[in-house]
Amino acid sequence: MSASLTLVLIMAALYATGVYIMLERSLTRVLIGFVLVGNATNLLIFIMSGRPGSSPIITGTSGDADMVDPVPQILMLTAIVINFGVTALILALVYRAWWLAQLGDEGDTLTDEHAAETASSAEQDFRSSADDDAAVRASLDGGDHDDPDDHDDPDDYNPDDDAHDHGAPIRPGNTDAAR
């Protein structure tokens, strides 16, 4: 079996730095270390497939002896997927640990300081959708009479402007979510 020296050196460097970083106390560094070591292992599997050769998928283009061994590639692919999943899980854990370090267990029970704003803006959304209904009805009636809900300038009434005031376009779905 022959292997590329470059790959071997890269693998060794990844293993060494990865293990070194994993020894740190910080969870984020442990995660980075894990990613490095995981990739070093993938390289190790890849090196075990031996010398480079032609693609093993296409038959008839080259002799069997020239093809590269496909099994390590399959193993690598599976290992990459597993590492990806575990990395995502550790990221969630890092976030949670950070959250607890900042706020403690009470962090979950703290009241949302924006709760009042959220409620009042939802209220406004409801009111403005009622305004919309009134405006639509008024235009459907074809009447040129005054807006019943005393807008500043009823003649200049524009639903888009109104939506812009509240930071989000007001559509039935949006108000449903707010409700």
Partner: protein, 522 residues
């Protein structure tokens, strides 16, 4: 295609399918419970059928997707796998019922059930996959499935204590997984295959030092998972923080997968027992240091975690001896220990509910308050301590007999360590019984006893919490598992005969290899 080969893939497919369904039905708790219980019950039935079929017809082999080994994935169920499948399916079912009972009482505040059921079923699928894997890489995938699920279960709810415990557990598990994957890569490089049946022929043909490195790497990777001394320190700190049912299933099954993997690889891939002396030393140290740790604990859950570590030593002892009798005793002991340790952890869960704490310093009067829980804990404790006529005694006796047959001074000293461990286990559990159950409640204040003098409490103990009621389902599930341990005692003869046949299979693996490669190995 025989019946057995149809059933083999189902033991993994059914829990995974159940997991998908329960995930989709996240808000319908009752349906989730029904799906979870139904999938595990089906797997238990399938495993029982497989056990009978495999016992009569020899190993059942499935070449997944029609790809022949060594290129395709191969699933093999021999007697050992079938036995492990059946026991773990029954235990998983029992613990699930316990968890459901607890969830109903708590109104799902502590354990968010919408995540619990799918994760639990993935854990089951991973376990079953590890037991039926016919190649090293599939074994690795099985391990990863159950480990990923266990990460989620251990940190369920995301409280500070659980995240702390979870981080240590996850990092240790990751390191051992990487070690396992690296050794798979090296084994592939040395032999050109990962199929166990083919490795059984190719590894013994390698030079001795290469064999030694490969064997040691696999052994290290599995020893971390099995919590073998000195790689066991992560266990007592991480298990007890999880919810009671999760701890019970971890304690019963997760370490045993590591033991199963050691048993499988050491007998199949490294015949001739090259690591006998180091394994014997490690077995004795695991037993003694584990049980000495248990003696120092005031918290029942932590104490049980330490006894779990120490009893892994018995299993390593059996594997180290490696004779057919020793392997049969090991298999019998694995089955015994899975059931009894799970039962004890569930009983500890019940104690926590009734007494509001698991600290011996603050428990008392439980015999009066909860006679049923007391009985459950007492019988389990006697069984774990190895009092005749329970299965714990029978398993230890068979192990010691096999050790005596080996007859070296080292084997005798391990037997001595084993006997001492057994007595100390009994001491630790009897002390828990005396303090928690026999001591009247009014004597807890200012209680002075040399037995409580030097105990260390759980560092993250929350103190006594408001007690909640115990549901009949929780007691029923624990009692059901206890009946199973007693059944193991009553039917010890047939079970041990089966274990002996399973041991004969793995000790002389020609049938196994013949089943995977009917026309001879390539």
């Amino acid at each position: 295609m025989s019946l057995a080969t149809i059933l083999v893939p189902l033991v993994v497919a059914i829990p995974l399918l159940g997991s998908a369904i329960t995930l989709a039905l996240g808000r319908r708790t009752v349906t989730q419970i029904a799906v979870g219980v139904a999938s595990l019950a089906t797997v238990a039935l399938i495993s029982a059928t497989l056990l009978v079929l495999v016992d009569q017809q020899g190993p059942a082999v499935v070449h997944v997707g029609g790809w022949q080994a060594p290129w395709g994935i191969v699933l093999v169920v021999d007697r050992l796998s079938a036995l492990m499948l059946l026991v773990s399916a029954v235990i998983l079912l029992g613990v699930l019922l316990f968890a459901v009972g607890q969830g109903i009482i708590d109104g799902d505040s502590d354990t968010p059930v919408s995540i619990f059921h799918p994760t639990y079923l993935v854990l089951s699928a991973g376990l079953f996959n590890a037991f039926i894997a016919g190649d090293l890489f599939n074994l690795y995938v099985g391990f990863e499935m159950l480990l990923s699920a266990s990460y989620v279960l251990l940190t369920l709810g995301g409280t500070g204590a659980r995240i702390r415990a979870g981080v240590a557990y996850i990092v240790v598990s990751l390191v051992s997984s990487i070690l396992f994957l690296s050794s798979i890569a090296l084994i592939y490089g040395a032999t050109g295959t990962v199929t166990l049946a083919l490795l059984a022929e190719r590894i013994p043909a390698l030079p001795g030092d290469v064999q030694g490195i490969l064997g040691l790497m696999l052994l290290l990777a599995f020893s971390v998972k099995a919590a073998v001394f000195p790689l066991s320190f992560w266990l007592p700190d991480s298990y007890p923080t999880a919810p009671a049912p999760v701890t019970a299933v971890f304690a019963g099954l997760l370490t045993k997968v590591g033991v199963y993997a050691i048993l499988r690889t050491q007998t199949l891939l490294f015949p001739g027992n090259p690591f006998q002396v180091p394994l014997l030393v490690v077995a004795a140290l695991t037993m003694l240091i584990g049980i000495l740790g248990a003696l120092a604990q005031a918290d029942i859950k932590r104490m049980l975690s330490f006894t779990l570590v120490s009893h892994i030593g018995y299993l390593i002892f059996g594997i180290a001896i490696g004779t057919p009798l020793a392997l049969a005793a090991t298999i019998f002991y694995v089955v015994h220990h899975i059931t009894v340790q799970t039962t004890l952890f569930l009983s500890a869960g019940l104690i926590e509910r009734v007494g509001g704490t698991t600290s011996l310093a603050r428990l008392g009067g439980m015999l009066k308050a909860a006679p049923v829980v007391a009985t459950l804990f007492f019988i389990g404790a006697l069984n774990l301590g190895g009092i005749p006529p329970f299965s714990g005694f029978l398993g230890k006796f068979a192990l010691f007999q096999a050790g005596a047959q080996l007859g070296t001074p080292l084997a005798w000293s391990v037997i001595g360590a084993g006997a001492a461990t057994s007595l100390l286990t009994l001491y630790a559990l009897a002390r828990a019984w005396n303090m928690a159950f026999w001591r009247p409640r009014r004597e807890i204040e200012n209680y002075d006893s040399p037995m409580l003098d030097r105990l260390t409490d759980d560092p993250h103990d929350d103190g006594t919490v408001v007690t909640k009621t115990v549901s009949p389902l929780m007691v029923g599930a624990t009692a059901g598992l206890l009946v199973l341990t007693i059944g193991l005692t009553v039917f010890a003869g047939p079970v041990f005969d089966f274990a002996a046949r399973a041991a004969a299979d793995i000790e002389a693996p020609s049938d196994y290899i013949e089943a995977v490669f009917p026309g001879g190995t390539p």
